[in-house]
């Protein structure tokens, strides 16, 4: 465990009072650091939408995103159980979980994962979503990793629910809708870049994110500008 990265991560997740706070960047920080710090190969976050459904808000890889979507579309899987019960759900052996989740377990194994943990994003009675950790190796995360994973989810939840203080006039509900729309914009940008350069969605996402980081811009802003067509030769370093 990289303890320095761990303490940095807690500080960053708690620091939502910054002027240019962006929910999507924040949730990507959560998924990426979960992978970097814990024995997880991929991570995803789903959030509750007041329309009465869960939506994928962030994922560390395209595979993780597809598995999150797969659960939502098929209405089965650890992520949904975790959200509905507000409690952690562990699958230490996905290959043996085909009775519990016939479609999800099969899809996850095909994608190369052997374990999954779903941790609730919850503050008191309010469950706002779930953090999912996918493992490619045998055996589930140890109790120490699970505690840290839950702590990361808890800090992120508190950060999100307090984020309204930054822009006083906006509630969590208003902010969340903006964030979910940002997610849509990122998917549109991935599609446009994938088609333009003939790369897959995972590669397109990595390129968009690397470009946002190297130019010190928010991923959401990069995606919007690109889909709007305002940057014809974007991203400059991405020419094949």
């Amino acid at each position: 465990m990289d303890t320095e990265l761990l303490s940095d991560t807690f500080i960053e997740l708690a620091d939502t009072m910054v002027a240019d706070f962006d929910v999507i960047d924040f949730l990507h920080l959560l998924t990426d650091r979960s992978v970097a710090l814990l024995a997880a190969s991929a991570a995803g976050v789903v959030l509750a939408d007041p329309r009465g459904e869960l939506r994928v808000a962030a994922a560390s890889s395209e595979q993780a995103e597809l598995l999150e979507l797969f659960q939502l579309q098929n209405d089965e899987g650890p992520c949904l159980e975790c959200f509905r019960t507000g409690r952690p759900v562990t699958a230490a052996d996905l290959a043996g979980a085909t009775q519990r989740w016939p479609r999800f377990a099969t899809a996850a194994v095909q994608a190369g994962f052997r374990t999954v943990e779903a941790l609730p994003m919850r503050l008191r009675d309010q469950v706002i979503g779930a953090l999912n950790l996918f493992g490619a190796g045998p055996g589930s995360l140890g109790p120490a990793d699970l505690r840290i994973g839950q702590a990361l989810a808890d800090v992120a939840t508190i950060g999100l629910l307090h984020e309204r203080n930054v822009r006083r006039s906006e509630t969590v509900a208003e902010q969340l809708q903006g964030a979910l729309n940002s997610r849509v914009m990122i998917e549109q940008a991935k599609g446009k870049l994938a088609e333009r350069l003939g790369v897959d969605m995972d590669r397109a996402f990595t390129m968009l994110r690397d470009y946002a980081r190297s130019s010190n811009r928010r991923l959401t802003d990069v995606a919007r500008t690109f889909v709007d067509g305002a940057s014809a030769d974007f991203p400059p370093a991405a020419r094949p």
Binding site: D49, P50, R51, G52, E53, L54, R55, V56, E65, L69, L72, Q73, D75, L80, F83, R168, S169, E170, T171, A173, E174, Q175, L176, Q177, G178, A179, N181, S182, V184, M185, I186, E187, Q188, A189, K190, G191, K192, L193, A194, E195, R196, M201, A223, R224, V227, D228, G229
Partner: protein
């Protein structure tokens, strides 16, 4: 989770249109919003030039004046939602926060008889179609259930505006019963396919989305399936294809 609520709400919109003996339009969305969220009135403003600039539909005189005064002042919740991409919920316009935020609009709205104003962006990612505005005569927030229903209604209005703006037999293509769930649950592939079509067809995102929907409708296929084929590169659309709903 299921998309059941979306299907129920879209069915209400279709039923309202049928009761009026006409095809589904944003007027039905406004009417259903008013009854299900217990509002004084509703309006839809189209964003043709990027900002809200054209009143498409109003349910009553107060709603019309609220829509117009925001266009005139260039200020108000309907302007803010397109910038933030999230809804703006002003449950009590007499609060100091509203007066500070909208020094022109807040007192004007009060004079018109509005105690609360709610504005919802009609957007799909980078695509901006317009704004759904709602008001109540007396202050009071939307309940969680009402908020969820209005989000679903805003999705419906968005699709109607985009289909209407990009030719074809748009209103017929709404397919109210079939596509509500698609829009919600299979979203990522629909959005990715929209992005891909901007390149394949060399059109803006709003038109790419409308063409994707028109193609699915003309082929009598589910939107999510067509989007999946495009993302998997099993299907390409061409410039002269899908314009009128098919090859």
């Amino acid at each position: 989770m299921t998309d059941r609520r979306a299907v129920v709400v879209w069915a209400q919109v279709a039923a309202h249109a049928a009761a009026q003996g006409r095809r589904v339009s944003v007027a039905d969305v406004c009417a259903v919003a008013v009854s299900s969220a217990q509002l004084g009135g509703a309006w839809v403003v189209a964003a043709r030039g990027g900002g809200p600039d054209f009143v498409m539909c109003v349910t009553d005189l107060v709603g019309e004046q609220l829509a117009e005064v925001q266009l005139t002042l260039g200020e108000g919740p309907c302007h803010d939602v397109l910038a933030s991409a999230g809804p703006v919920l002003a449950g009590d316009l007499s609060e100091a926060e509203s007066a500070r935020r909208w020094p022109g609009f807040a007192p004007a709205a009060a004079r018109l008889g509005a105690g609360a104003v709610f504005a919802f962006p009609l957007i799909v990612g980078a695509i901006r179609a317009g704004v759904l505005g709602l008001y109540r005569g007396s202050p009071g927030p939307l309940s969680g259930r009402q908020f969820g229903d209005v989000l679903i209604l805003a999705d419906a209005a968005t699709v109607m505006l985009l289909d209407g703006a990009h030719g074809g037999d748009g209103e017929d293509g709404i397919a109210v019963d079939g596509q509500a769930g698609d829009l919600a649950l299979h979203r990522a592939e629909i959005d990715q396919a929209t992005g891909m079509l901007t390149v394949q067809l060399d059109v803006p995102a709003a038109e790419a989305f409308a063409r994707l929907r028109a193609y699915a409708y003309a082929q009598d296929r589910r939107l999510a399936d067509v989007a999946g084929d495009i993302v998997a590169r099993r299907l390409r659309l061409h410039r002269d294809q899908g314009q009128d709903g098919g090859p």
